[in-house]
Amino acid sequence: MRFTGKVWRYGDNVDTDVIIPARYLNTADMKELALHAMEDIDPTFAGKVKEGDMIVAGKNFGCGSSREHAPGALKAAGVACVVAESFARIFYRNAINIGLPLIELGEGDINIKAGDMLAVDLAAGQAENLASGEKFAIPALPGFIQDIAQAGGLVPYTQQLLAKKK
């Protein structure tokens, strides 16, 4: 799967309360939540994000609450993938479980700026910053986490597992 999108750039410790504030969690309708995605850190995001855009951030992206509404709102807003130095573990799990691709690059400077165009090829395990020409490898997901991602998330994966058992 290869896709190209514009980068939204954020810093370290972007928490799930700013990705989707709890005041909106009286619904689990992800399309509705997408209208408020990133609102408390970037009020322009929800109005301007386009299908296929990507978020690039620093370390510990998605820390805090276990609300799956966070990756859910980003996915529903059209975000194609999130690239970060590192992810908080519940966010990481949740994103894989709902089929939102994540790219964890390891800690260090990421030379990607807001507005850069990024081309990502998940199958080939490679990404390219079209603005700078810089290429970087996407670390492969380990073991059956790969299978979950390939099935499109944990629900289809579990459906397949239960079907096999029958």
């Binding site: 709890a22 619904t27 805090g64 609450s65 276990s66 799956e68 590192s86 709902i98």
Partner: protein, 421 residues
Amino acid sequence: MARAMTMTEKIFAAHAGLSEVQPGQLIKAKLDLVLGNDITSPPAIKEFEQISDKVFDKDKIVLVPDHFTPNKDIKSAEMAKTMREFARKQNITHYFEVGRMGIEHVLLPEQGLVAPGEVIIGADSHTCTYGAVGAFATGVGSTDMACAMATGETWFKVPASIKVELTGKLTKWVSGKDVVLTLIGMIGVDGARYQSLEFAGPGVASLTMTDRLTISNMAIEAGAKNGIFPVDSITEQYLTGRVKRAYTPVAADPGAEYIRTITINLEKLTPVVALPHLPENVRPVSEMALTPINQVIIGSCTNGRIEDLAQAAAIFDGKQVHEDVRAIIIPGSQDVYLEAVKLGYVEIFVKAGAVVSTPTCGPCLGGHMGIMAKGERAVATTNRNFRGRMGHVDSEVYLASPAVAAASAVLGRIAGPEEVA
């Protein structure tokens, strides 16, 4: 002979049917309990219904409507209704209705639903609280909860463990909250990311169960997967009369490998606060310049237990809440509420000019019962001080112990307990 393992590794090995596991290994583990609340359960139920029509075990699922209850608006009432109807349809044993409930992480240990050696997941990040009784417990999302309700198992990556060696004893007015905030201040909000925090050392014996529950509760605030305590006589005493089923405590093996050891001398700790907007911004209360406040929250899954209210009552007794402050006190469960009534704490709070609420997560996550306006500042015994967490994006939360929160309520500024008591 299996390799020497940490507490978490031993619990995982036992639940994965393996003689040993090591950090980094992916396993599938049997679950002893699956938890959800009124925010996370409705999406989980929707996904569950795509997979199965019957839960794996009606006795091993706990549903607690605690976040937006008693319902704050029509939409949240609909979500609670979804969960209630699912509980009835699936004949879930442990569904707790408003009036009989509590904040999930206060309620479950109190009701004996979590025990040493067990594996528990909950669709709430503070599920790690149950590490205090020597269980492996961690937060997950709604999809994990959905699949776990169908299959009774889930996948884990075995975490490496950090040993937190505690020595000495806490001094007066210093409690579990100060211990965990100090730890987070030392290692940062991602200092234990993907890892287990395992508490050990002679200092453990001096910590009450309430202290331990507070400490394990905030393991997630250091990014940890779980925060686990050894099982000792204090744990056993707490569990007696609560847990009626058999359980198997584990202890770390001598020679178990830890990726780092952090030592904290409890004797040296002082009351601290975590400044906005990260729990790692920890400073001694004594070093805080004059910082006026508008609101105080005492309660939450972190500090909503009876000993927490006892600390607050000791400060408030015979005093008045400062005229510029709204003080909101939230017992963590119906049992805690009743106990606070019997012990006279509620009378002390009301006479001091504080509000005493029914159990709810409410203000902690900016849900209801104490939302702040632009520019307002709170001292709260809750667990997160992220931007906009308790209301307006330009409001501020300072995290502290019940003693510090109560003292601050009386003086109208961030204050240490010794300034009032």
